[in-house]
């Protein structure tokens, strides 16, 4: 082993440690930013060292310059320009890019490997080829799956679960074909065309996996695809014998899998149910249609403001509607005014409020709401019974009491915020349209509930004016 090779292992070890610390530091709001910068620093070190020491780059240096420039411009502009509400999609598209890169690296590796002799049916020499195939298939699935997830959240792909007659059979045939091709490519042939067919089918599989999943479940899907990309990167690292790729990929693969599981648990569903349950197309149909028949009470902003201003405690329940309307800043103003009057104000954050766990936290933090006021579901659920007002801003399914009682409801069993236990419930909503799960919310028909219709931002601004006048 040359000194440079030895030093490369040292650099990769430092890189691996920074990646682990980055994830660890992200566990606390105080250290999270440091963690991210540490990870970025380790990344720069690893990439710079690789560029500096890899032989053969002198002839192809322009690829790095051109590719690096294009990639940096897209990455920086994308990351800087995206509105906070579109964060989940952005993560999805960056993740898709990583998956695509892994697939491309795997393809290139395949081309290199096939310039040698056919491997034969021994298992040991076939292992790198199996890893190559894994990298290609998982990376491809992650690429197209992420693009569809992006499309569903961005609104250019139907966010409802999309299925077609016989889609299960098509999926089963596709999976079987992929397996057959994998076995053939691992042991019996190194035909490039066959490999390209394999990759093409994997790209189709990514689309077919995500299309039948509703937009409300996209956070889980993005997290899962993030984990997939990690595994694909680990697989290519395995083939290249590159420990930086192997360790970073495995770290993300494992942590992404756990995160996915945590999200599913928050919704009291299994991952299988998310992937194949076609949420909202089963039992949801039975209850849909009752919306117009519900008797609801409405309230105007002035009355709602008085109710809060003279209450002792107010719990604000933000949801995706707040994000869409960009109402977080007026919400913070409302909080400040109420606190100045001695009202206890807390925010109840459901684990899946918004489009991603932590989505609401990010938005409210952006508006300077101290994170000490943001309470997780288990922490605050008992407090609703003592709250004078629960102010629901654009949240729906996470407040739906039928999750507790109605066994026919598609969200039955999902832990919800006990909003209906508050003395008064004020629901800010654009219309009586149902939530992402496409089901009705009996909360709106409860006697303690009053609806305040309108755009969330304008309504909250009216509430702010109301509290000032009260």
């Amino acid at each position: 082993m040359t000194t440079i090779q030895l030093a490369t292992y040292g650099v990769y070890l430092v890189g691996a440690v920074t990646f682990i610390l980055a994830l660890k530091f992200l566990a606390s709001p105080k250290t999270a930013r440091t963690g991210n910068l540490l990870g970025a620093g380790g990344m720069i070190l690893v990439v710079a060292w690789t560029i500096g020491t890899t032989e053969g780059l002198l002839d192809n240096w322009w690829v790095l310059v051109v590719g690096g420039l294009i990639g940096t411009v897209i990455g920086v502009i994308g990351a800087r320009r995206v509105p906070m509400t579109a964060m989940p999609q952005m993560v999805a598209i960056f993740n898709g890019a990583g998956g695509g890169a892994a697939a491309v690296v795997a393809l290139s590796e395949f081309l290199t490997a096939t310039s040698g002799p056919v491997i034969g049916s021994d298992l040991l020499p076939a292992i790198p080829m199996i890893a190559t195939l894994l990298g290609a298939v998982i990376g491809s699935v992650s690429l197209t799956g992420s693009v569809i997830a992006f499309g569903k959240l961005q609104g250019f792909v139907a966010s409802r679960p999309v299925t077609f007659p016989g889609s299960r059979i098509v999926a089963a045939v596709l999976l079987a074909t992929l397996l057959l091709l994998a076995v053939a490519l691992a042991f019996f042939t190194n035909d490039v065309t066959l490999f390209l067919v394999f990759v093409a089918l994997a790209l189709v599989a990514g689309v077919l996996i995500v299309m039948p999943i509703g937009g409300a479940d996209m956070p889980v899907v993005i997290s899962l695809l993030n984990s997939y990309t990690g595994i694909a990167v680990a697989a290519t690292g395995f083939v290249l014998g590159n420990y930086a790729l192997l360790i970073a990929g495995t770290l993300v693969g494992a942590s992404g899998a756990i995160l996915t599981q945590l999200m599913c648990r928050a919704m009291n569903r299994s991952l299988l149910n998310v992937l194949f349950g076609a949420f909202g197309t089963g039992g949801g149909v039975a209850v849909a249609g009752a919306a117009g028949e519900q008797n609801v009470r409405t309230i105007n902003a002035e009355d709602a403001a008085v109710l809060m201003a003279y209450g002792k405690s107010v719990i604000i329940v933000p949801g995706y509607g707040m994000a869409v309307a960009q109402a977080q800043t007026p919400v913070r103003e409302l909080m400040d005014l109420l606190i100045a009057r001695g009202v206890d104000v807390q925010f109840a954050i459901h684990p899946v409020a918004g489009r991603m766990p932590g989505h609401m936290n990010v938005l409210l933090a952006e508006a300077n709401v101290p994170y000490e006021r943001l309470k997780e579901m288990d922490e605050i659920n008992d407090d609703f019974a003592n709250a004078d007002v629960a102010l629901v801003i654009g949240a729906n399914d996470v407040t739906n009491p039928s999750a507790r009682t109605d066994t026919t409801s598609p969200i039955y069993g999902m832990p919800i915020l006990n909003v209906d236990k508050a003395h008064n419930v004020i629901v800010l909503k654009r219309s009586m349209a149902s939530g992402f799960a496409g089901i009705d919310n009996p909360l709106y028909g409860e006697p303690q509930t009053a609806m305040l219709f309108g755009d969330a931002k304008a309504t909250v601004q009216a509430l702010v004016a109301g509290v000032k006048a009260a």
Binding site: F19, I20, L26, P29, K30, A32, R33, G35, N36, G39, A40, M43, V46, V47, T50, L57, N60, V63, G67, G68, G71, T72, I74, G75, G78, A79, F94, A97, G98, A102, V104, V105, E109, L111, A131, I222, T229, G230, V233, T236, G237, N242, L246, T250, L251, V252, A254, S255, S313, I339, I349, M356, P357, G358, N361, V362, A365, E366, N368, V369
Partner: protein, 114 residues
């Protein structure tokens, strides 16, 4: 590239893989919900290390096709790694502690309103 063909190297890689998976599991199971989005985004940036793979592939490219693949790989990998870290930093910018906040979470509703 032949490194991984050596049985010893395969075994080493397998050990690293399994042990790292446990590290990933342990590190993430302690993250509070509010940081899940930044965490996902941060992890997303970390697998942007795939750009290193694209660089290595570019170095060994001996056909125009492989060179083109290297270029696509470098572009996609750079988007992943640069965009990933920048967007995560942007999210985390918002989690700065307020100067008037102490360490204890027990603060009740009568505190200063930031």
């Amino acid at each position: 590239m032949t490194e991984a063909l050596d049985p010893q190297a395969l075994v080493d890689a397998l050990f690293i893989l399994v042990l790292t998976a446990f590290v990933g599991y342990e590190v993430v199971s302690k993250v509070p919900t509010m940081l899940h989005t930044p965490l996902m985004s941060g992890a997303n940036a970390v697998h942007g290390v795939v750009v290193v793979g694209a660089i290595i592939v570019t170095a060994t490219a001996d056909s125009p096709l492989q060179l083109a693949l290297g270029l696509v790989g470098v572009i996609l990998g750079t988007v992943n790694v640069v965009g990933g870290f920048v967007v995560t930093d942007r999210m985390l910018e918002m989690f700065r502690s307020r100067p008037d906040k102490g360490d204890n979470k027990a603060e009740d509703g009568k505190g200063p309103g930031a």
